[in-house]
């Protein structure tokens, strides 16, 4: 239990710092940035209190907002992702989730990719809709969602495989 708290606290702080100091400044092709801090939301222990999970996701989003002066867009997108996580888990892992026996370090890579892909697309769609906040720019929203998602998905999966699959 204690170990879980420590590792999640470290993950929270590290992902936040990497996000605001590195990933927000990439601007690949002018506007494409990965938002890897959502790995925290993906990897948060499943059996923990959901209220705590929602609050922590909100805090993480709000801190990213604070660093990038974006009002509350990251907070909103993170809370939506955190709330929708059980549905995503059920669609990607099926029976494993029903039995509460998912371990991200041992699951199949295919299920993991599905889970991260759907989660990232949802998060980025909410994020860019709120950031641009203009329904007439729907094409711009979709374009930014698509390109940033590709970037985020690749980086997230690499990071998850690198850092949490080593305990096999």
């Amino acid at each position: 239990m204690n170990n879980v708290t420590v590792s999640n606290t470290v993950r929270f702080i590290l992902l936040l710092l990497v996000q605001v100091m590195l990933c927000n400044n990439i601007n690949f092709l002018g506007y494409i940035n990965p938002y890897i801090y959502i790995i925290f939301i993906f990897l948060f222990p499943i059996r923990e209190n959901r209220a705590l999970f929602l609050l922590l996701s909100f805090m993480l989003g709000l801190l990213v907002d604070m660093f990038s002066d974006s009002g509350g867009v990251h907070a909103a997108a993170s809370v939506v992702l955190a709330y929708a996580r059980p549905i995503l888990l059920k669609t990607s892992f099926g029976m494993l989730y029903e039995h509460h026996s998912i371990k991200f370090s041992t699951t199949e890579i295919g299920s993991l990719i599905t889970y991260v892909t759907f989660g990232t697309l949802l998060h980025h769609l909410v994020l860019f809709s709120l950031e641009i906040f203009n329904i007439s720019s729907i094409l711009l929203i979709l374009q930014k969602t698509l390109f940033s998602s590709i970037f985020t998905i690749i980086l997230s999966i690499l990071i998850i495989i690198l850092f949490s699959r080593n305990k096999k």
Partner: protein, 273 residues
Amino acid sequence: MQQIFNFVIKNKTFLLFLLLLGIALSLTIQSHSYHRSKFINSANGLTGGVYSLSNSFDQYFDLKDENKLLSEENKRLREQLLNSSQNLDSSYIDTKYSETKYRVTIANVYKNSYSLTNNILTINKGKNDSIKQDFGVITSKGIVGIIDNTSNNYATVLSILSKTSRINAKLKSTRHIGSLKWNTDNPEFVQLEDVSKFAPVKVGDTIETGGESSIFPQGIGIGTIASFEIDITGDTYNIEVKLFNDMTNIGTVYILENLDSSEIKALQDSSNE
């Protein structure tokens, strides 16, 4: 009553979700108005501290460019000084009329953004350096933006690359005025609107600040005309302006305080009544 409690307990996750989403959305909506959120901005001790740490490493990589910029500016200023026809004999200067109108402060940019729809810079000067809201921010080449929020040691700058910014600008050659906006497409170009169709607009002409607002002095450079077209109504030009500044690479900025701004504001308020 019992049922209400049961309802709250049964749906407590959903209610918490709605509450948090509501807070986030209200912050978002607030951030789309001109004066942004007072609480969630990067002009506070925590974010400023982190950015100052990363900036202390970054600075070394830009030293060469910064040096080049400074020597270019020095050259320009020296040319102005040598070529000025004014008599600089101190005995002619009447101190009463030569009071300084603008106070200039130097600041380093800690955080810059240019890929969002509302871009904000964070700089390392704040209330302790007498920086307040609505001061103008420029570089040696041209304008950057306007001070928005301040904390004790840091301030945020609302960049000209922002949907909500409106800056008064004019053609250098003829003094026809317009207002400067950004259509969020490209950080190298901004748009000048509402320029009278009687103005002689030519590609390559210089656009500078208009001096109608008390924020920027007259004649700070903005950019050159890249292309222009007549508005749909047929009365005004819409001009595409290429910025002098490379907004993606800003290191050192100057903050301008108009020492007469309170007097100008009081005068305008009294004539509005």
